[in-house]
Symmetry: C2
Subunit: 177 residues, 2 copies
């Protein structure tokens, strides 16, 4: 085990893509988190959860569905949803069809926070991320990163080791769009 064959090193473009990706996403994430904190007292994860709920027709999703979207341990999701509920931004109710389940619904207050936070969020994205890019760059970026994402999603995620989520079955509303 000490003698692992060294893989060939990455070439400059590969290294460049990797380092730039990490650096860009770190800086962007950092700035966005500050904006969300300032504007709505939300962490990024909480924002993601609210945004996800706000995107559905009835503003509701089951815990499991939320966990599928945001890569989390179940307890982590319970924690974050608990915070949102305490802040009055979501409500929990027993699931109709499955007595084990819990349905999370965004409240009016939750939608208000979302609306209050969105403009600044978009501003940050424009100023920090999109501003220096040409139309073709953005298209290219979206295309290539989507390829990578789909590839990553198609691979056995480590989280599947313990308690498998609904990874095996095909969910109609996967997470697309």
């Amino acid at each position: 085990m000490t003698e692992e064959a060294s893989p060939p090193p990455l070439d400059p473009a590969e290294l460049g893509a990797y380092f730039a990706l990490i650096e860009v996403s770190s800086l962007l994430r950092h700035t966005v988190e500050q904006q969300l904190r300032d504007a709505g007292d939300l962490s990024y994860v909480q924002f993601q959860l609210l945004a996800r709920l706000g995107d559905t027709a009835d503003g509701s999703q089951r815990m499991t569905e939320l966990a599928d979207g945001v890569v989390y341990s179940r307890s982590g999701l319970t924690y974050q949803v608990g915070l949102l509920e305490k802040a009055g931004l979501v409500a929990r109710s027993p699931s109709a069809e499955d007595d084990r389940g819990v349905t999370v619904t965004i409240t009016e207050a939750g939608r208000d926070v979302l609306a209050r936070v969105f403009p600044g969020h978009i501003d940050v994205l424009r100023q920090l991320f999109l501003e220096p890019l040409a139309r073709a760059d953005i298209d290219s970026l979206a295309r290539v990163l989507t390829v990578v994402r789909d590839h990553m999603r198609s691979i056995p995620p480590r989280s599947a080791k313990r308690r498998r989520k609904s990874a095996a079955r095909q969910s109609p509303n996967g997470g697309g769009a």
Copy 2:
């Protein structure tokens, strides 16, 4: 509060680039962190610090230089370097020219850990990130993301929060929550 005019919403390509960027970097980061933890008991930040030191001619850098590279608060850097030192992977010594300064140097053990961790690191990058991409995609990705990074670096971000001196103290804003 300020009434911000709603900016025009992002178009699909812009949204796609943003979401894919966040998702890809999250998943990649997550996987890499596990690998680093498993192979060398290193957090990603610790790996970054070691790699940075290992990249210099003499394996040394001042705390300030390290802080410039890795987006951190000074105390955070002190904490991480403290951990690395405790593990014997770096050594601290007083800076030669500036008696206030501290020079951090990677040790032999530190280089060993780096060498032990690199192959798996590169494997993860290849399998998860680079594998589905054509040569041209990687080049394109590197180019576009580098543009973004340079743009981000040229802006205000973290330097703005640097170290601020306490000028005339504002009245203590009692609102604690």
